[in-house]
Symmetry: D2
């Protein structure tokens, strides 16, 4: 076991560290969570600094209501990610803010029946006033009325929506502006779904969204890329949708893969499955640089982005 | 705090206990995980023994490859669940077995790159031979060729598939036989999606599946029911899809709700969110009987089903 | 990979199952949590049905306030465990009940500042009235006054305490009666510690408990046993204390090992470490039958005990 | 609910951020894990910048082999912590390095039976060569021979050990130098225990360590402090030992409390219990600033220390 000759250098912390300086200490240590975060930063940096690599961001969980909207928009605007795969809910909360409302700091230790009476929706310790949700419903249904009356894929549908959003900090708007395709396989499983249903009750079926059509586009992107790299925040549908493409494209799997999750592997679900397991399927290459960080993405991802941006600023930027 | 006058009776275990006798000991104890399992059994039993309650089963994770296929088929055949909301993957693995292949007992401590060379796909400690997956792909694509050339909802698509499966132990076949609708909002995010994509590459678009159309049917079921009860195995899209309907139907939320999950609430994602949180949204009624069991569904759900079946056998059965 | 030829048989559940019949279905399935519970039952049964095996029970967490006191006392009375390693807290709560008080069913969704004002101590959803805790303090300090004025090991101290408890359902009393030694390495880290401190403030140092002395006895037990088997409920000090003995006794490690835990391995702590990791140290034998069940011990352990007792009743009992 | 008027400001990340600048972005966001880390930094900073507050560090898990030794030694040297409560294992691994050996970067995906043959001990992805462990045993047993032949508390024992360690980067040596008491209630549950046992086999009982004697010193420290603040890395004995003192000292509980853990509360054990629960017992004051961060301490704690050191450098330092 010649490979295990690397001594653990103990992390040193001083009073004047940039984020990447701390991450580099994590890297000298190289073990436990700290070592994995450092590896994740190295991988993400390599992905975004190579011209030949297409970068996919998987976005599950409630990161947009939880304060990560701007981090994602800025990555899109700076072309640090090329493809977004998301849940519907994250796009709903993007639009709630785009239409002028905010999310609020609440508490997780509350009487939820009382919140219901007060018309406050809770997402762990984030509060959302129901009146703001209703405002979003109304504005979004208006927006739907302006959509082209034709058959679309989900990606095309979200592009048409994004074009019609004014807020430059909107994820959907930024993606539409920058040519970043947004995939959302479970779109009906969100307030977008509920509002399309309401819209059709009133207006009848003016547009049609085909459930399988996105696979053409997604496969084409994967196939064209010289190298593919995935950053997955949480698991869920975005993780699986990103990974499954490799089974048919037969590229041997992603060349880079990072997942940040708090789910565990033992109950067998894909969200908590290791990236090692993904290698057995050919979803992640056996030669890939891959790491799974067990942690809260609201902590880990901004940390990674700050370190990667610091490295990019110190080198010749990618584009 | 007058309500907290109930002493904890310590669990007694003897050598001659039926499953429900043990569950009743859990109920006398009433705290920690044991107390929650006992409450889950009471709720599930009340749901299935009331004529006026529509029962929804949410099926996330990898429970079908993990050995729970028959438990679910039997619940459908015995009309103990009325609606199934599932991931695509669980239906894929249902078809793999329906088409004659098996899943195998493997190990989670393996060299996944070696498994890839051996053409074995791993799902935690379940192994699937790639040749069996290919057999499924071929058979399923053949089956697709027989589907009606028209626009369908995802539910209709899965009904058409289910009707064409011979195996009586198949979940999809049982659901088609027994009139249990199967919803699968993220259907393109599975081998079903990949195979439809392959099929269309070869045959062009013969059928057309609308992404939002299922909401009509699902809302109608929820609206018509006098009482609604949800059993959610894992979280993911099935949990959210079941719960979100209440936001528009405005019934005040589910009357019964049980979730079995290993996800945690703190990172803010819906899969690990408490059922209390769902009350703030009106997804679960403030007066509902609701419990979340933190555990592996492959252990907890068969335990619950065995206890509920034992109670049903001892009372006048529901139908 | 010839070993992976075992098909997964899907679990079947009917209305008339004993606990072990369900566990045997789990065993036919053989994967995920269900498979691990079945393996844990097989191991526990083999341990208790072999005359040559010494059985250690590690007891961390709050299982005694959580309703498992009787399960453990009965295992001691029936000589199904030979050695108990515990936290101090579990013995404190054993004495609270032995002295006539109860624990109560509470709730985990409460205002803890209000509970403090009401003088209710909370252990997740278990409530304990502070007045009952004070009664225990008083009774236990009285009991201490009766202890022999000499140097003791912690094991001897707990034996002397156990002999002075009247309640036959007490774990400490049963252990004293049945010759089951009770080890509690962190004894000062509990109300026992606090009460000994109070006692000495009043009475001065009448007895003297040596912190390291237990290792003599524990090593001797491990050394004398032909085979050693450990059941560990939770992790903590009991897990480590049980396992570490093998490092010096050099028996190659435990022959049987079962751990039930909800802790995870990735942050590196011993409580969540896998039993595989223990093999690298020689704590668990490379040839051991060993399984770690990810689950709540209040659910899993009574399930295991019920199945093992059912098997014992059907075979020639051990003693 | 007037208090919930604070809008969530989305985190902004740029290419030139110090660690505390990022933490301040987390604080503007204020929710999910990011918000909790920001709150933990605020609390830790307030603790160390107030002259009247005694700071306790609880150290569970395997943080010393995992690369955090230097972080802790430096906190002791700079008098940013006043009291250390630890597991035995962390002090063992401190001595292994003090005696000249290192820990190595390994892997968690290995054949542990093979590691056993290679005489490599594994702690998740940290490797330790057994020959280095044996070197430590030998050196430590030599050191024990030099200890005073008298009765000691565990704290005194560890002080006597610390004084005899040469390495200035040693936690035990730094604590001895700086007058920081080290408490280790479960000391026999570690290689320290095993080596004392070996030593006594050879040399007979030359010194005696009293199991309960530390409580005098610890209570005195808690009682004397005007304000008390606890930072708990992991749970286990250190968490409970720190918190339990308040039950007798009756100060109403800690004024500041931060815990970093990956354990969960639902199974009822203290390690995963919320700090809210601790308020019901009076362990943490109802008016305390307290936060529990769900995360890997090897990531979260250096992040916190870097931010606190940055703030201290920008203000008038404490001492």
């Amino acid at each position: 076991m010649k490979e295990y000759q690397k001594r653990i250098e103990h992390i040193k912390v001083h009073s004047d560290m940039t984020v990447d300086e701390l991450i580099r200490e994590f890297g000298k240590c190289g073990v436990f969570g700290a070592g994995r975060v450092a590896e994740a930063v190295d991988i993400f940096y390599e992905m975004v600094s190579r011209e030949d690599t297409t970068t996919y961001l998987g976005l599950a969980g409630a990161l947009v209501p939880g304060g990560m909207r701007r981090v994602i928009t800025d990555l899109i605007r700076d072309h640090l990610i090329d493809v977004l795969v998301t849940t519907g809910a994250n796009m709903v909360h993007d639009m709630i803010e785009a239409f002028g409302a905010s999310h609020y700091r609440g508490s997780a230790i509350v009487d939820d029946a009382e919140l219901y009476r007060l018309q406050i929706d809770r997402i762990y310790d984030v509060f959302l006033y129901e009146k703001n949700f209703s405002m979003y419903d109304e504005r979004f249904i208006e927006l739907l009325d302006d959509l082209p009356s034709r058959q679309m894929s989900i990606r095309e549908f979200l592009y048409e929506v994004g074009k019609r959003i004014d807020d430059p900090n909107s994820i959907l708007r930024a993606a539409a502006d920058e040519g970043v395709p947004v995939f959302c396989p479970a779109i009906s499983d969100s307030a977008i779904g509920l509002d399309v249903w309401r819209f059709k009750l009133k207006h009848g079926p003016t547009f049609f969204v085909e459930a399988f059509a996105d696979l053409d586009d997604f496969m084409e992107i994967v196939r064209k890329a010289k190298r593919n790299g995935a950053i997955m925040l949480g698991g869920g549908v975005p993780k699986n949708f990103i990974l499954q493409a490799m089974i048919v494209v037969k590229r041997g799997g992603y060349d880079y893969a990072v997942q940040i999750t708090m789910d565990r592997p033992e109950p067998g679900g894909l969200s908590g499955a290791t990236l090692e397991e993904a290698k057995s399927w050919g979803k992640v290459s056996g030669r890939a640089r891959a790491v799974q960080v067990i942690g809260d993405a609201s902590i880990i991802f901004p940390l990674m982005v700050a370190a990667v941006r610091e490295r990019l600023a110190q080198s010749k930027p990618r584009r």
